[in-house]
């Protein structure tokens, strides 16, 4: 393998990894904080992709709306849609089944199905193209290598998200409350903090990030299909299992590892790529049965 191919695969792997991270970060934080596992998380990703599709298509007609502005706008709208869907999901579906893991799994799978059908109702059930806007196409020369600018953008956005999350978690009072709540929910309540409100906020933020991830995934694959929610679900679960349920750092490491491994293995043997994902997960679990950065619950 030459350097050029290596760097291309590296950047692609990082880009995909960043998308997985964005989708996974919310899910893992929600689990760490409230012990809720949302099997319907993929729905927010699918929603993000479709909302972005609508916004980008709507703006494609008028030329003065094209460009970074439209892209930013699509991202924002997708995130808002994700956050809203998240709040609805939490209030309508999850609230009655706190603490009941089996029911949570069932109810959230149900939510995924119903949500997917709703998406099909609104947007149709066939695959649709999602082309990145013109200004995102093209490549950048980095030494001997030609890299697609879109991928670099994705890596940059992913890093920005991670940095923003880290800042919020480590430097704000809200972040403090979240970190403490993840460790000991009872005590944070005994200190007077309305943990439910914090939770809804985190859930909404997580869904918004998932929506952003979905939009970027759709653009990366250059198409959307209603089943992407279910497809991405599996990958996101692998990420948070590897990273350790509840850890954002773990989600980042797991996501990047998954992205890189799939890309590199995929290059050598496309059939092995699917295996590689699961094999990686099992390898990590054998080494660290609770994931790379498990939470220490007090």
């Amino acid at each position: 393998m030459d350097l050029s191919t290596f760097i291309t695969l590296l950047i692609s792997g990082l880009a995909m990894g960043m998308i997985y991270f964005m989708a996974a970060s919310g899910l893992t934080l929600v689990f760490g904080l409230m012990d809720i596992l949302n099997f319907g998380h993929g729905l927010f990703m699918a929603l993000g992709a479709y909302v972005a599709l609508t916004v980008l298509n709507a703006g494609a007609g008028s030329s003065d709306l094209a460009g970074p502005g439209l892209f930013l706008w699509a991202g924002l709208v997708a995130m808002m849609a994700g956050a809203l869907a998240g709040v609805l999901f939490e209030r309508l579906l999850l609230k009655p089944v706190y603490g009941l893991h089996l029911s949570q799994i069932l109810v959230t799978v149900g939510g995924l199905i119903v949500g997917e059908e709703l998406i099909k109702m609104v947007w149709g059930s066939v695959q649709q193209p999602l082309t990145p806007p013109a200004w995102l196409e093209g490549s950048v020369q980095l030494g001997p290598v030609l890299i697609e600018s879109f991928r670099l953008w994705v890596v940059a956005i992913g890093l920005a998200v991670f940095v923003a999350l880290s800042i919020v978690l480590s430097r704000t009072k809200l972040g403090l409350v979240i970190r403490a709540g993840v460790e000991d929910r009872e005590m944070i309540r005994a200190l007077g903090y309305p943990i439910r409100r914090v939770f809804i906020l985190v859930f909404a933020a997580g869904s918004a990030l998932a929506a952003l991830g979905g939009m970027l995934w759709g653009l990366y694959q250059q198409m959307v299909v209603p089943q992407i929610g279910a497809q991405l679900n599996v990958l996101v679960f692998i990420v948070i299992i590897m990273g350790g349920l509840g850890s954002t750092k773990g989600a980042l490491v797991g996501a990047l590892a998954l992205g890189l491994v799939s890309n590199f293995v995929g290059f050598f043997s496309p059939t092995l790529a699917a295996f590689a994902n699961v094999a990686l997960m099992f390898l990590v679990l054998m080494w660290r049965p609770d994931g790379l950065y498990p939470l220490k619950k007090s």
Binding site: V97, V107, I113, E117, N233, T271, A274, V278, M281, P289
Partner: protein, 351 residues
């Protein structure tokens, strides 16, 4: 006598009994009821899914494990028949060999999964089975040389099961006894036997221990039950019955492919059928499978009517016949909240 056959697990409640008996009779006489090929198709699928969902009930309803990898065993059974028919010749011996091979593969896989389930937390386990099932599906779809890839395998059955075969010239009670009809009754008999076996299993001491383990793992261990053995046994039994169900489906369709037996959609359908029908009851599988398959075929017609009536209004899209799963999904969610034991549970209490 009948009581012993049902392992003393009588379905309780008049309405429930009536429904079950009606369903049983309908299934028994389906070829003679004049529904045509489509109707017989639905009946055959109901049979297969009753067995498949009941096998899943053993795992989810009685042992309390959520596994998304159940379709794997279904697929193994389906491909077992397909491969043996393709490579070993269309004989009964070939069929049995295919079944035997499939059961063996499922045995090994289910032991591995069962042992693994004890090493990780339930939530982890559920997620991991999801990933494993996805990989298995991809693997099967990609190994075209073995499995026919996405297109699957079409095959022939032994002569007497082929549609062109005629057992009785001139028919019986006005019906042509074709290979198709024989296949149907083969399905019926096997499903009936397996269903009764499942009833026997869940009503045995083994079954009761499983339920105790489901309620309180810690306590059961304290009393001295070797959790490992029971968990693995439940996993294995559940897998074996699912394999048989897959074998039967493949027999009916004379086709095996990844969409038909391995998809996530199918896994979700199984969950839907079980939860709506009633977890932990075995009879729930009958109600759930029947309801689901009837909905799949006939709810669409109902929805089509509404759809036409609301033509032009935005809300019409809710009644798009292709979106029947939306309604079933809602029913599923409602069942999780309000019907802990599904329809069976609800009907049991009504006299």
């Amino acid at each position: 006598m009948l009581s012993r056959l049902l392992s003393h697990d009588w379905p309780q409640g008049g309405l429930l009994r009536a429904l079950l008996v009606t369903t049983a009779i309908a299934l028994l006489t389906a070829p003679f009821l004049g529904f045509g090929a489509t109707g017989l198709n639905v009946a055959a699928k109901v049979l297969v899914f009753i067995l498949l969902v009941a096998s899943f009930d053993l795992l989810l309803g009685y042992s309390g494990h959520v596994s998304f990898a159940h379709t794997m065993f279904f697929g193994v059974g389906a491909y077992g028949l397909a491969l043996s028919m393709k490579h070993l010749g269309t004989t009964v011996v070939g069929m049995l060999a295919g079944l035997g091979g499939a059961l063996l593969v499922s045995l090994v896989l289910s032991v591995l999964i069962g042992v693994f389930s004890l090493r990780v937390r339930a939530i982890f386990f559920a997620m991991i089975t999801l990933a494993v099932a996805a990989v298995f599906q991809t693997f099967v779809a990609q190994q075209s040389w073995l499995t026919g890839g996405e297109d699957g395998i079409n095959f022939r059955l032994p002569e007497f099961l082929q549609p062109s075969y005629r057992l009785i010239e001139g028919g019986l009670l006005g019906l042509d006894i074709t290979g198709r009809v024989l296949s149907y009754y083969l399905l019926f008999v096997v499903v009936l036997v397996c269903f009764l076996a499942l009833l026997r299993i869940v009503n045995s001491p083994f079954g009761r221990v499983l339920q105790a383990l489901r309620e309180n793992d810690f306590r059961a261990k304290a009393i001295g039950y070797d959790t490992l053995w029971f968990r693995v046994a439940a996993s294995v039994l559940s897998a074996l019955f699912a394999t048989v169900a897959g074998f039967l489906l493949s027999l009916w369709l004379r086709y095996s492919g990844p969409d038909v037996s391995l998809s996530f959609e199918l896994m979700v359908d199984i969950l839907l059928m079980l939860v709506i029908g009633g977890m932990g009851t075995i009879y729930g599988a009958v109600l759930g499978a029947t309801l689901f398959l009837l909905a799949q075929s006939y709810l669409r017609d109902l929805l089509a009517l509404c759809f036409e009536a609301l033509e032009g209004h935005a809300v019409a899209v809710l009644f798009d016949p292709d979106r029947w799963l939306f309604w079933l999904g809602l029913l599923f969610i409602v069942s999780v909240y309000t019907l802990p034991m599904g329809l069976v549970g609800k009907l049991r209490n009504k006299g």
